[in-house]
């Protein structure tokens, strides 16, 4: 390997590394994979620029921030429960406490906040459901024929009916 490296004049890398913004080879169920994301969300929400935003504005901001930053991660990796709780905590504290932070009273439980507006909620998206919905899209793409390289790789690895396994719950 060393010889190949010197010959090609390049460095030997190791997993996990970042490619196109996503961690490759990282374990999605480990907390550390998600730390940069949590950091990012938290700094974006708690920047001083958001200091004088009204409650309604914070709701809008919550949705736009979670729609923007983590969606890339969430469209590929399944979020562990611990990360979800942490994210909700950041969101909740921002919603009720604002940028100044500190523990404020949350007047309504988070699940109600996540109800759609028509049903008496604030229309904030539940990030866990967002995650699962995004992952479901992979299933759809597996089942619906487009011939992509990533599918060929999966078929080579998991067998010719890999794509159909997803349907009908395992048995054909």
């Amino acid at each position: 390997m060393d010889m190949a490296c010197t010959f090609l004049n390049c460095n030997e890398g190791s997993l996990p590394f970042k490619y196109l913004g996503l961690p490759v080879g990282a374990n999605p169920s480990s907390y550390s994979t998600w730390e940069p994301l949590l950091e990012h969300v938290s700094t974006r929400l708690n920047s001083w620029g958001n200091k004088y935003i009204s409650f309604g504005g914070r709701v809008v901001l919550l949705n736009s921030v979670i729609n923007a930053i983590p969606v890339f991660y969430l469209s590929f990796l399944k979020m562990p429960g611990k990360v979800w709780r942490k994210l909700v905590k950041i969101q909740r504290e921002f919603l009720w406490g604002g940028v100044t932070g500190g523990r404020k009273i949350s007047w309504v439980k988070w699940r109600s906040v996540c109800h759609p507006k028509g049903r008496g909620g604030l229309g904030v998206r539940d990030i866990r459901v967002v995650n699962i919905s995004l992952l479901a899209k992979w299933r759809w793409r597996l089942l619906n024929g487009e011939n992509a390289l990533w599918k060929e790789v999966l078929i080579e690895k998991y067998g010719p009916n890999a794509c159909d396994v997803v349907e009908e719950g395992g048995g054909v």
Partner: protein
């Protein structure tokens, strides 16, 4: 390159599946409500990709499950729809091959089966799947979210349902 190296390592069913693959496979949870699959519907066009007995392509269950007796008597258990539905003169007909002649009561069941198949039309193009929640039958994350929202957020039924979705 990648494809080649995997093949060399000993073919299918690797003992180690990637985490991502497991997550996708088991996204519905290992048992219970199939909140994803129940929104899928097979669209049979030329029938070449659809197994007549095994796939769910007419109604909610496969014909293997709905007509187990006929399935066990069929000589073409793995046939595709295209193979069973053949051109006879100018019209397409269902041509099954049975192991033995029918008893009288089985005839009646066969009539039911044929009634289920009534009105099947042949279409140009490969078989695919449709997504019931969208008009254009193409999956959308939004429709999925709306469905899951109904399942786990609105109904106040976390606990059991939550287990199903987030296992």
């Amino acid at each position: 390159m990648l494809v080649m190296s995997w093949r060399k390592e000993g073919g299918f069913r690797p003992s180690v599946s990637s985490r991502w693959w497991k997550d996708i496979i088991h996204i519905e949870g290992r048992e219970g409500v199939s909140w994803f699959n129940e929104e899928l519907e097979r669209r049979v066009r030329n029938g070449e990709n659809t197994k007549f007995w095994h796939c769910r392509w007419q109604g909610g269950v496969s014909f293997r499950v709905k007509y187990p007796r006929h399935f066990s008597m069929s000589n073409l258990k793995d046939a595709t729809v295209a193979e069973v539905w053949v051109l006879n003169g100018t019209v397409k007909e269902w041509s099954f091959s049975w192991r033995r002649p029918f008893f009288v009561w089985e005839e009646q069941l066969l009539i039911n089966l044929l009634a289920d198949l009534e009105g099947h039309v042949w279409n140009e193009g490969a078989d695919g799947r449709g997504w019931k929640r969208e008009e254009d039958e193409v999956f959308s994350v939004k429709s999925m979210y709306t469905k899951l929202e109904g399942l786990v957020i609105l109904e106040n039924r976390w606990g059991a349902e939550e287990q199903i979705v987030f296992n």
